[in-house]
Symmetry: C2
Subunit: 144 residues, 2 copies
DNA sequence: AGACTAAATGCAAAAGCTTCTCATTTATTG
DNA sequence: CAATAAATGAGAAGCTTTTGCATTTAGTCT
């Protein structure tokens, strides 16, 4: 089971940690804030402190189990690290997030880092726009 | 003079606004936090409140005069909008920022937005790495 | 120049997110 | 099952940013 992942990270296998991992697992492509995770725990009837949620998410991030993203708007969001890197396109209206990978872009980034004399460590690419949800897309307003 | 830019934004031409624009102008490629701008104002002997700095920067952003970036680490940074879009590569050690534009990446982003059914509004691409400053680059540590 | 008014300012207070402190509880090891 | 280092919960505290409000000021019209 994935409890081993927690052990491998050098962390004790505790209730909060197992449950947080489960919640992120169930979240799938959704990206959850610490507050989201906290609320989901409460809704499941689990008594966990918000401070613990923050601590555990940070530890999981350090261990490479989860990734943290800073999209626009105050708070960080987290998702399970599924092994393969990806970037995001976010709807500025409804918040919908779609993931994508583009090898052309990845390659150009590596070239740019070399050109500029940087040893690349990481990158963050987020496209913002309006998704095709009718409530979000701004169709040409028909005749004023 | 550039006071006209302030007027065009529908804002009164006040001391704080003119001075903040000057500071950003002098900053060149540097990216300043609100706190940075505030400190520079004080050092110039100008009495301006931090709240005003935040307010003015937000107004300038809304007017398209400045751009706000959320690199890693707590606070937003600002720079004068020089008209042409660019992305950033940031040194995770010393904080040095280099700007770049890459049409290949720009084009792919537009294609991806279309593929995913998004009307693109904006994007943010930041590469993180270690710059070639000796204190920053991690040369292969020679023997123990 | 002086008067008027909406806008701008400074300060302090408050908000939002995240981290820290510390007393108590718990997982792990032997 | 005892021992102990690690983890937890609750609240305090920290940081960046925003807000409320009394006061000041830029722009406009005599
Ligand atoms: Mn993702
Ligand atoms: Mn820039
Ligand atoms: Zn949408
Ligand atoms: Zn550097």
């Amino acid at each position: 089971m994935e409890n081993q992942e927690i052990r491998d990270a050098g962390l004790k296998v505790t209730g909060p940690r197992v449950k947080i991992l489960e919640i992120l697992d169930r979240a799938g492509e959704r990206h959850l804030s610490a507050e989201d995770v906290y609320r989901l725990l409460l809704e499941s009837g689990d008594e966990v402190g918000l401070a613990t949620v923050y601590r555990v998410l940070t530890q999981f991030e350090a261990a490479g189990l989860v990734e943290r993203h800073n999209f626009e708007g105050g708070s960080s969001v987290f998702e399970l690290n599924k092994g393969e890197h990806h970037d995001h396109i976010v709807c500025v209206i409804c918040g919908k997030v779609v993931e994508f990978i583009d090898e052309t872009i990845e390659k150009r980034q590596r070239q740019i880092a070399v050109e500029k004399g940087f040893e690349i460590a990481d990158h963050s690419l987020t496209i913002y726009g309006r998704c095709n949800n009718p409530a979000c897309s701004r169709r040409k307003e028909k005749g004023g």
